[in-house]
Amino acid sequence: MEFKSKDFTDSRRVLKIRKLKVGLTGRPNAAPVLNEIDLDIRAGETHCLVGESGSGKSVTSLAVMGLLPKDALEIQGGLIDLEGVEITYAKPSVMRALRARRIAMIFQEPMTALNPVLRVGEQIEEVLNMHTDLSQAEAKKRTLDMMEQVHLPDVDRIYQAFPHQLSGGQRQRIMIAMALILDPDLLIADEPTTALDVTTQLQILRLIAEMQERHGTAVLFITHDMGVVAEIADTVSVMQKGRIVERAPIRDLLTNPQEDYTKKLLMAVPNLAPRAARAPATAKDVIIVKGLDMTYGGGGFLRRSEGVKAARDVNFTIKPGRTLGIVGESGSGKSTVARCIMRLIDPTAGKVSVAGTEIAQLSRRQLQPYRKHLQIVFQDPYRSLNPRWTVARSLCEGPINFGTSKEEAMDKAAELMELVDLPRDALDRYPHQFSGGQRQRIAIARAVAMKPDLLVADEAVSALDVSVQAQVLDLLDDIQDKFGVAMLFITHDLRVAAQICDEVLVMQKGLVVEHGPADEVLSNPRHDYTRTLIEAAPGRHWDFANFRAMERVPALKGATA
C-alpha cells in the first residue's frame, strides 16, 4: 500500500503546541484532561490525531479554536502558537477574528452542525459578512463560487436549500465550503467522515485532499478510524488519556509502532479478510424469511403518495449457531428488515417464520408468546437501557414477564453478569455508571436472558471504540458457541461483517443485490455495488493487526485505491 511520504521539515510551521495543559475549571490540582501536549503542523501537512473516545482529541481541537466550554474546562499551562503568534490566552474578540480567517473547523455530524432553520447558502455567506467588507452581491458570488469548488451540483438551487433537504455528503461539502471560503492556514477536521457512508466518506476525503493541495492548508485531522489514517495522514499522533504517547510519520507508525498502546490500537483493527468458514450447521432453520416487503407511507389526505419501498422481496434463512450479516449504506433497508423480523414494525407483505410459527401476520396479542424467541441489541447502549432502572431490573423484566419467579430471575441475572464479564455486585448500579462497552454488554445480557433462538444485532458495535468493539465481537462469538443462538448482524462496516458473519447479504435501496457465504461475497464480489463498497473501505490494503500489507487483497477487477 502507498503511504504519503512527503517531507515537511522545510515548510512554514502553522501550529505549534507546547506542554499544553487543560483541566477542570477552577480545579488546578485535579487530574488534567490534557497533559502536556506537544504538537506541530506545517503548511500542506495532514496530521492525524488518533485515539479512543475520551482520550482528549476533541478537547485539543477546541483548545486551539478557543472554544473550550468555559464553565467546565480551562487552559492551565503551556503554549499554543499560530504562525508565530501566541494565542494561548487570547481575548475572545481576538479569537473571534482568527476563526474562519486563520483557523477553521469542520465537525463530525453535518446534519447537526448546520443550523436547521437557515438556508445553507446564507450560512456560508455569513462567514463573509462577519469577516469581510464585501457587498451583498460580491459575497453571494463568492459563496456560489466556493460551492462550485467543493463540487456541489446545481449551486443556485442548493444555495436556497435548507440542511435537511440535502444528502449527508452534500451537507459535509457545505461545511467544507464554509470552513475554507476565507482560505485559512489551518483546518481542523473533527471526525468529519465518521457519520457518512463509506462511498461518501471516500469522496469527502478526496475533496479535503484536493482543497489542501490547492490552498496549501495545514490539516489537523481527528479520527478513531485507522483505515482513514492510513489513507490520508502524513504524520500521526496517538493520544491516550490526555497524553500524546507516540508521534511518527504514517509508514513508521503502521509498520513499526513503538508504544504498547499503539500496538494494542492497531491490533484491534479488524481486517477485511473474512473469518475462516465454519462447518455448515445441519439443524433445522431457526428463521425463514420469504418475500418480505416493507413500504412506508403511501396513501395521503389530499395528494396520494406512492410511499417508500424500504425493503423489497427479501429472502433468507439462518441455522442455529450461525450468523448472517446484512450490510449496506444508510437508507439501504437493512434496519427495516431487522425491525420487520422483530415485528417492531409490521411488514407490508411476506412471510417470517420463527421456531416453526409464521409470525409476520400475527396480531400483537397473538405474537406475545413468540417475542422471547427473538431478541435485539441496538446500536446506542446509552439510549437503549432505561436510565432510571438498575441493571438488575433491566435484566429481570423479560424473564418475569414470561413467568419466571423473581428469585430465579435474580439468580439468572447474576449468572448473566458473569457471562458478559461484569461483576455480580454491579447489578444494583444504574446504566450511567458504566462505560459504553460495559453498557453494550448489559444490553447483550438483557437479550440473552430471554434465551432467544435468534439474536438480532442492529449496528451493535458501531458506536464503540475499536478495542472495545473487538471485545464485544468476541463476547457475541462466545455466546453463540455456548447457546447455539442464530444471529442476524446488521452493519455498515464490512470489516466487522468479515469478522463475525458466515453469510452476507448486501442490500442497496431496499433490494438484495448479493447473497452468499461471507468469504465469497467479500473476496469475489459479483455485483458492482458490493465491489464499490469494498473499494471504498479505507486502508483495505493494509493488515493493521500484523503491521504489514494485506497478503490476500480482495482481488477486484481493475481495482485501484
Partner: protein, 313 residues
C-alpha cells in the same frame, strides 16, 4: 405551504362542529324543561308554550339542531333573555375591550420575557439567571388581583399617573386608551412574563448546547448574532406554543381583571350571564371561547412552519 395551511384550516371544522353539538345539547339535556329554565320561576303555562313554540322545542331533536346550526352559520346567536337584545350584538360590543387588553398584555409579555429568557440562558447559573428565575417564581405565585390592587395603589392613587379604573377605545385617542389599559395589561402580564421567560430560557438552554451553535462560534460569529439569529429561531416552537395558549387563555380568563379594573369586556359579560342564567349568552360565550382557541392554535401551527422549515405536513 398553501396545501399545509388549507389542511390545517379544514382540520378546524370538525372541532368546531363538535363544540357546537355540545353547546346545543347543553340546554336540551339539562334536567327539566328548557322553556322552564329560560322563562324563569314565575312563568305561566301560556308563556312556557309561547317560548317552546318560538324556540321550536316541539320539533324533533334533529330538526331543532339543524335549525339552530342554520341560525348559527348566519351569525344569529339568539336573543339575550336578560336584555332582550341580540347576543351577537352584545358580544361585538364587549369583544373589543377584551381583545385590545389581551393584545397589549401579550405584546408587553413577549417584549419583556423573551430577552429575559435569552439572557438568563446565555448567562446560565450566574446572578442574572438567578434574578430572572426569582422574578419568574414571584410572577407565578402572587395572585392576579393582589398585583392589580398593588399597581392601582401605587400608580393610580399615590402617584396619580393614570386613572384608577375604566376603559376607552383606541378610537378615542391612543393616550386615553393607553393610560387606562396599561395597569390591567401589566397585571395580566406578570404571570405570562414569568411563563414565557421560563419557557424561553429552557428552550434556549437546550438549543445553546447544539452542534450548530458551536459551528456558528467556530465561524467567528458575534455572540449577539449567535443568540438571536442562530439560537432563538431554533428555540421558537415551544415559545410560540406558550404565547398562543397564553393569548387564548387571556381572552377567556380576564374575568378577575375586568372586575378589578371595571372594564366592559366579555369577562364581565360572562359573569353577569351566568349569575342571571342567561343561556343564549352563555352558549355564545362557549362557542366564542372555543373559536378563539381553535383560531389561535391555527395561527400558532402555521407560524411554526415559518420559523422551522422542517415542519411540513
Amino acid at each position: 405551504m398553501f396545501l399545509y395551511i388549507l389542511k390545517r384550516v379544514l382540520a378546524t371544522i370538525p372541532v368546531m362542529v363538535i363544540v357546537a353539538i355540545f353547546v346545543f345539547l347543553l340546554l336540551r339535556l339539562t334536567p327539566g324543561d328548557p322553556a322552564a329554565i329560560l322563562a324563569g320561576d314565575a312563568a305561566t303555562p301560556a308563556q312556557l308554550e309561547r317560548i317552546r313554540e318560538r324556540l321550536g322545542l316541539n320539533d324533533p331533536l334533529l330538526t331543532q339542531f339543524i335549525t339552530w346550526m342554520g341560525q348559527l352559520l348566519r351569525g344569529d346567536l339568539g336573543t339575550s333573555l336578560l336584555s332582550n337584545t341580540s347576543v351577537a350584538g352584545m358580544l361585538a360590543d364587549r369583544l373589543g375591550p377584551t381583545i385590545n387588553i389581551a393584545l397589549m398584555t401579550i405584546v408587553i409579555s413577549v417584549v419583556m420575557a423573551v430577552p429575559m429568557g435569552v439572557i438568563a440562558a446565555w448567562r446560565h447559573r450566574t446572578w442574572v439567571d438567578f434574578l430572572v428565575m426569582s422574578f419568574s417564581v414571584l410572577g407565578f405565585s402572587v395572585p392576579v388581583f393582589v398585583i392589580g390592587y398593588i399597581l392601582i395603589q401605587i400608580f393610580a392613587i399615590d402617584l396619580r399617573w393614570v386613572p384608577v379604573q375604566g376603559y376607552k377605545s383606541p378610537a378615542d385617542g391612543f393616550g386615553a386608551f393607553f393610560s387606562r389599559a396599561i395597569l390591567p395589561s401589566l397585571t395580566l402580564a406578570t404571570i405570562y412574563i414569568a411563563l414565557i421567560a421560563r419557557m424561553t430560557r429552557a428552550s434556549m438552554l437546550e438549543v445553546l448546547g447544539e452542534d450548530y451553535i458551536r459551528t456558528a462560534r467556530a465561524k467567528g460569529v458575534r455572540e449577539n448574532v449567535v443568540l438571536f439569529r442562530h439560537a432563538l429561531r431554533n428555540a421558537a416552537v415551544p415559545i410560540l406554543t406558550i404565547i398562543g395558549t397564553g393569548f387564548a387563555l387571556l381572552i377567556s380568563g380576564v374575568v378577575v381583571t375586568e372586575s378589578v379594573f371595571n372594564i366592559p369586556g366579555i369577562g364581565r359579560l360572562t359573569v353577569d350571564a351566568i349569575l342571571a342564567r342567561d343561556y343564549p349568552v352563555i352558549q355564545a360565550m362557549i362557542l366564542l371561547t372555543a373559536g378563539i382557541y381553535v383560531f389561535v392554535n391555527l395561527l400558532v401551527d402555521i407560524s411554526y412552519s415559518f420559523f422551522d422549515p422542517r415542519i411540513r405536513y
